[in-house]
């Protein structure tokens, strides 16, 4: 019995008995699950030592050892070493949150001025072949599934672009069968007509496929590792290609090898020990920067949120104070990295954190499929697909733009040329 993960398990009453039996077996009997460290057929293996470095550092990280004087030393230095960063992530740094925020603010201003970028995500399909127990799109969750056709995608994009938005992030559920790479590529070509800057957050693919997507117009690839702890990862991602931890880990490198300009990283905070996951995320970025110094890198910091059919899911021990501490530590350790704060967080938190260290926020967000017209213009669409998770900050593009401006920040919609 897996007590720790019990909160995530939800049985739908429409599942056939065989499917339900398989689901229960996956949940309760680890021996029936595949080896999550072994690549599946078709998954490209690249040579990289970054995984080992990150795992080793995470393994060795004992945050209980750091003291107030370690934190003070870290804050007094011009460049933040890995050891300093560990001190800033430790519980010993909690009383120094204001000093950390001041330092982070100064670094952010020097690197980014007072700019804040605004973008929006568009989910084009929510079919998924994975069973990730905390995710609303998981294959056993009884939700309304939808894959938009190209006319629908174009229509949604027109509606979004009418708001003035110029950067878009295209997302899908993780299903190669329903949303193959060509389908995503065509969606990107449509997006190119309406937006200046296109990113994707899709299932991990091989170098050649990233290259193809780049040629279609994508320049940024986001892949969240969810948790960097392989043992915990195994208990959360029970079925499907997402189960393969190392293939996911190497996604950013494959994307850069495929010619992408930038890559984004994150752990989903609350799944496992958040301090260790934060360390691993930042080191993943750090080592990628050392190996690919030209690449633009950014970090996100999502926390767990309730999903359709399960309102009990929550970010556990990661409160707003902890999140703020992590983000300040990220900024001090990685002054040049973009930091994105999603609509999972509250209006107050996002307004505050953009003044300290966040450089990008989403606005006008829907994590459902094909419901922008409904959300933006009030037209009902009975056919829309369900959402991946509940958002918290549902500000429109206009509201976000003005709130950022009123906070003394300069909203930027595009700072980018596809060349």
């Amino acid at each position: 019995m897996n007590e720790e993960n019990q909160v995530y398990y939800i049985d739908s009453d429409v599942l056939p008995p065989e499917a339900l039996a398989k689901k229960h077996k996956l949940e309760q009997d680890p021996s029936c699950r595949s080896n999550h460290m072994e690549y599946m057929e078709g998954m490209e293996v690249i040579q990289s030592d970054i995984k080992d470095k990150v795992l080793k550092a995470m393994d060795e990280f004992d945050y209980s050892l750091y003291t107030a004087s370690d934190v003070q030393r870290a804050l007094s230095k011009d460049t933040c070493s890995i050891e300093d960063f560990k001190a800033l992530l430790s519980p010993a740094a909690a009383p120094f949150i204001e000093q950390m925020a001041r330092k982070a603010e100064e670094i952010t201003k020097n690197h980014f001025g007072n700019t804040v970028y605004i973008f929006t995500p568009i989910y084009i399909a929510n079919y998924c072949q994975n069973y990730c127990i905390y995710c609303g799109f998981n294959c056993y969750n009884n939700i309304r599934r939808k894959k938009m056709n190209f006319e629908e995608i174009e229509h949604e994009m027109q509606i979004i672009s009418r708001t003035g938005m110029e950067e878009i992030l295209i997302l899908t559920g993780e299903s190669r069968t329903y949303s193959d790479v060509e389908y995503i590529g065509e969606a990107v070509k449509i997006a190119k007509k309406y937006f200046r800057n296109i990113g994707v957050e899709i299932y991990p693919v091989n170098v050649e496929e990233y290259k193809y997507l780049h040629e279609c117009g994508v320049d940024y690839v986001t892949v969240f590792q969810e948790t960097y702890n392989p043992a915990k990862y195994e208990t959360l991602h029970l079925l499907g290609h997402k189960r393969i931890w190392p293939y996911r880990f190497d996604s950013q490198e494959r994307a850069l090898m495929g010619g992408m300009r930038g890559v984004a990283f994150s752990a989903l905070l609350g799944l496992d020990d958040f301090r260790k996951d934060a360390l691993a995320t930042a080191l993943h970025v750090y080592y990628i920067n050392r190996k690919y110094p030209h690449a633009e890198v950014s970090l996100s910091c999502p926390r767990l949120r309730p999903i359709v059919n399960n309102d009990k899911i929550n970010p556990n021990d990661v409160g707003e104070k902890e999140l703020c501490q992590i983000l300040c530590a990220y900024r001090i350790f990685l002054p040049f990295a973009g930091i994105t704060v999603s609509s999972r967080e509250s209006v107050e938190f996002r307004n505050g954190i953009t003044k300290i260290c966040a450089t990008k926020v989403s606005a006008g967000v829907s994590t459902g499929i094909g419901d922008h017209e409904e959300k933006y213009e009030g037209k009902q669409d009975a056919d829309a697909g369900d959402e991946q998770f509940e958002i918290n900050d549902n500000r429109s593009f206009d509201a976000m733009y003005h709130d950022m401006e009123n906070g003394g920040l300069q909203p930027v919609l595009n700072d980018y040329i596809y060349v």
Partner: protein, 254 residues
């Protein structure tokens, strides 16, 4: 005596080149006016927008635009961005910025030389951002650059003249105007660079992160003017340490 800065055959009275990124675009006009700037830089990728609030609309008439190629990772991309800039009506001036380093944003000198050569042949007034290196500066001159723009310290660092000795060598040896760009954090540092003989100062972060953007632009203007005047006047000798003995050592000679 008239003291003009001449770039690509165009004369400027001001030796202060103002950046436009990193602060609210509605402050640009006031900063230009109080700073007396006649040249303003602009990242073309920022102007590449359908936004109703296009940064281009905020730049006062009569100010020379200096579009930069930031975002370019090699010569080819810089050339494409420069051509796009000209096609968008941003004029013939271009500041080449080629970075393949996302952390320090250091310019790639080799690629910058290549791009300078191509763009100068196409009639651009090319101002390359560079790491101060004498051989590279000479190559940029041969490639047709209208000035060189060595960095004082990493962009955004506000660390001042970290590369002072190297910049002094460029000023002494290169016939082109030497415009000190990046890393200047305070008016006093701008003044010092001008005293050394720099032709102009480019600053962005120091002004963008100040409490009052237009006031700081003015402070830079005054510092640059003071440094220029000191340079033209010919400064007195400054001893490294101690005083000078009043009794000459060679007093015994008859």
């Amino acid at each position: 005596m008239e003291d003009k800065l001449i770039l690509g055959g165009k004369e400027f009275n001001s030796r202060f080149i103002l950046g436009s990124g990193k602060y609210n675009i509605n402050l640009i006009k006031a900063a230009v006016e109080q700073g007396g700037a006649e040249i303003i830089t602009l990242a073309l990728r920022r102007a590449n927008t359908q936004e109703s609030e296009n940064i281009l609309d905020y730049i006062p008439k009569g100010v020379t635009l200096l579009p930069n190629t930031s975002g370019a990772r090699n010569a080819e991309e810089a050339v494409r961005i420069a051509r796009l800039s000209r096609a968008m009506g941003c004029g013939d001036f271009v500041k080449i910025e080629i970075m393949r380093d996302a952390k320090y944003l250091f310019p790639d000198n080799q690629e910058t030389i290549k791009a300078t050569e191509i763009l100068a042949k196409e009639g651009f007034v090319v101002l390359p951002y560079m790491n101060p290196d004498l051989n590279v500066a000479r190559d940029l001159q041969s490639a047709g650059a209208s000035a060189v723009m060595p960095l004082a310290a990493p962009i955004g660092s506000n660390k001042g003249l970290a590369t002072k000795e190297m910049i002094q060598i460029l000023i002494d040896e290169i016939d082109l105007p030497v415009i000190v760009d990046a890393g200047i954090g305070k008016p006093s540092q701008a003044c010092e660079a001008m005293e050394m003989g720099a032709a102009a100062i480019m600053a962005n972060t120091a002004i963008a992160t100040a409490g009052n953007v237009p006031e700081m632009a003015e402070a830079f203007k005054l510092a640059i003017q003071a440094g220029r005047k000191a340079y033209l006047t010919g400064m007195g000798r400054v001893l490294a340490r101690g005083g000078s003995a009043s009794d000459p050592l060679t007093g015994f000679l008859r």
